[in-house]
């Protein structure tokens, strides 16, 4: 009785808490965050449309200046990331096979090593790992470069010279990161598959190269190649647009560049995750 008396008011308070509406400050906070996110998404979509518009309308303009610039960004986003991609591919292949081979051998299902590689690396981890690599090694520096250029007024200087800043600064980066994401993803998948077999070989898994290749070929469909290309290109595009948007689309001061970089990373990761979820739905439907 005394215990009920002691705990009664507390229970009452809890019930009152559950039945009471959310504090206005909390709902306001969530509401503001959602509205802000929707506003940013709308601005990002507008920026993407402007970029595509400039790609179309200024295609072929000043190729003598733009081609070296494009080659520079392709090399920077693709070629310069090859060593890191190779390292990541080896780690990914070893991790996936290392984690699964023991379990598969225990249940006599080592025939599925190749299938696991396809499911894990080709469909999911490969594009995601490549996207993270491109974001961190190329996307973030792009935000810093563009944000600094914006803060120093170089964008207005370009406009004053009759040069479209989107054409000169954004288009080469978007093309570079998109193409590089596709190419690096292909390298990463091939590297991970090779590293996976090497690890299986070192673990004395009774699996010949021919059998491993047959398992992988059997697990792959034509659709996998198409969706792999589309997914990695989509990731590259989302990263490039998010980074260029945060660095360039708004007037910045130097002290705001660091915050813009963080925001770009968050926006790019959210965009990639959303795109990945959409592709999972496509996989499930097909």
């Amino acid at each position: 009785m005394s215990r009920a008396l002691v705990h009664g008011p507390r229970r009452l308070r809890l019930e009152a808490l559950w039945s009471s509406p959310l504090p206005r400050s909390y709902t306001n906070f969530v509401g503001r965050w959602l509205l802000g996110a929707a506003h940013t998404a709308r601005q990002l979509a507008a920026f993407a449309l402007i970029t595509f518009g400039v790609m179309m309308t200024r295609r072929g303009q000043a190729p003598a200046v733009m081609r070296p610039l494009l080659a520079h960004h392709l090399a920077r986003a693709g070629l310069h990331l090859l060593p890191m991609t190779a390292l990541l591919a080896a780690a990914l292949g070893w991790v996936v096979v290392g984690q699964t081979v023991a379990l598969l051998s225990r249940v006599g299902a080592q025939d599925y090593v190749g299938t696991v590689m396809v499911l894990a690396v080709v469909r999911e981890l490969g594009p995601l790992a490549t996207a993270l690599l491109v974001l961190l090694r190329v996307g973030v520096p792009a935000v810093i470069e563009l944000g600094t250029a914006r803060a120093h007024g170089e964008v207005e200087a370009l406009e004053a010279l009759g040069i479209d800043p989107v054409h000169f600064l954004v288009v080469p980066r978007v093309v570079g990161m998109t193409v590089a994401a596709v190419a690096l993803c292909a390298y990463l998948v091939l590297g991970a598959v090779a590293a996976g077999f090497l690890f299986a070989f070192l673990q004395d898994v009774p699996l010949t190269p021919g059998e491993y290749a047959r398992q992988i070929a059997g697990a792959l469909t034509g659709l996998d190649f198409l969706l792999l290309g589309l997914k990695s290109a989509g990731f590259g595009l989302v990263i490039a647009l998010a980074c260029c948007f945060q660095g360039l689309a708004r007037p910045l001061e130097l002290r705001e560049v660091a915050r813009a970089s963080t925001t770009a990373v968050v926006a790019a990761v959210l965009g990639c995750v959303t795109l990945d979820a959409a592709f999972i739905v496509v996989y499930l439907l097909l």
Binding site: T57, H152, E154, E156, A157, A160, L161, G162
Partner: protein, 254 residues
């Protein structure tokens, strides 16, 4: 003597700041710059002189009012026609000229020429070299903007604007951060001294201190507390001494 054609016309323009407060920088700006005129715009820091120059260059639209550049309305133009009009009106920003930090001075100067002519940066080396030599920058051509002092950066920004041979030159605070030797060079250049490269016939300069830069034949306007006033033309007699003698003395560091 017939009046020269107007190259810049601002009629009933109101300028507002880009920031969230959207405060008014200038009201009722009525300003006509005729071909061949030299103007000085004077006003305190933050008065909106740079904003006014950007409006005059067609880079920004005024909140209200009408702008005409070389007889055309930039707001009504798009694409290559607008780009061609903008090339006729060169705007050089102050405080180092906002050069592109990853390009050398020579590449900075060559970039607009090559972009509009569609040629590699190397192909413009001869023309760029001639202009850099005319402005005393040949020794610094291979340096990045961050490796030279702001006074030389400002001169490189001038070269970047001149390479397109504009009809109108708008200079935003060109005299900031200049030592006396550089200041003499600029005064002489603006006064029409022969340097081996033509100065555009129409020049507009902003400054916070009009007294130090009054040159013969210049007209002056003032922007202060959102009020725009234009000085009556000064009598042509008794021009202040020109400063051409400073030109030859100026040499870049090795």
């Amino acid at each position: 003597m017939p009046a020269a054609d107007p190259v810049l016309e601002l009629t009933g323009c109101t300028l507002t700041a880009e920031e969230a407060d959207g405060r008014v920088l200038a009201r009722e700006v009525n300003w006509t710059v005729a071909a061949g005129e030299h103007w000085g715009l004077c006003g305190p820091a933050g008065a909106g002189k740079t904003h006014l120059l950007e409006v005059a260059a067609g880079l920004r639209a005024p909140a209200t009012g009408r702008v005409r550049l070389l007889g055309r309305d930039p707001a009504a133009l798009r694409g290559p026609v607008l780009a061609a009009l903008r090339r006729e009106v060169a705007l050089v920003y102050g405080r180092g000229g906002r050069l592109f930090g990853h390009l050398t001075l020579a590449q900075n100067v060559a970039l607009p020429l090559c972009y509009h002519r569609n040629c590699p940066l190397e192909a413009a080396a001869e023309e760029t070299g001639r202009l850099l030599a005319a402005l005393g920058l040949e020794a610094l051509a291979a340096r990045l903007p961050g490796q030279v002092n702001p006074a030389w950066q400002q001169r490189a920004a001038l070269a970047r604007a001149l390479i397109l041979r504009p009809a109108v030159l708008l200079l935003d605070h060109p005299f900031e951060w200049l030592n006396e030797a550089h200041a003499r060079w600029w005064r002489a250049f603006l006064d029409g001294a022969e340097i081996g490269w033509p100065c555009p016939p129409t020049v507009v300069v902003t400054t916070e201190d009009a007294q130090a830069w009054r040159l013969p034949g210049w007209r002056w306007a003032h922007l202060r507390d959102t009020t725009w006033t234009v000085e009556a033309p000064a009598p042509s007699a008794a021009p202040p001494p020109a400063a051409r003698e400073g030109l030859a003395a100026e040499t870049p560091p090795g």
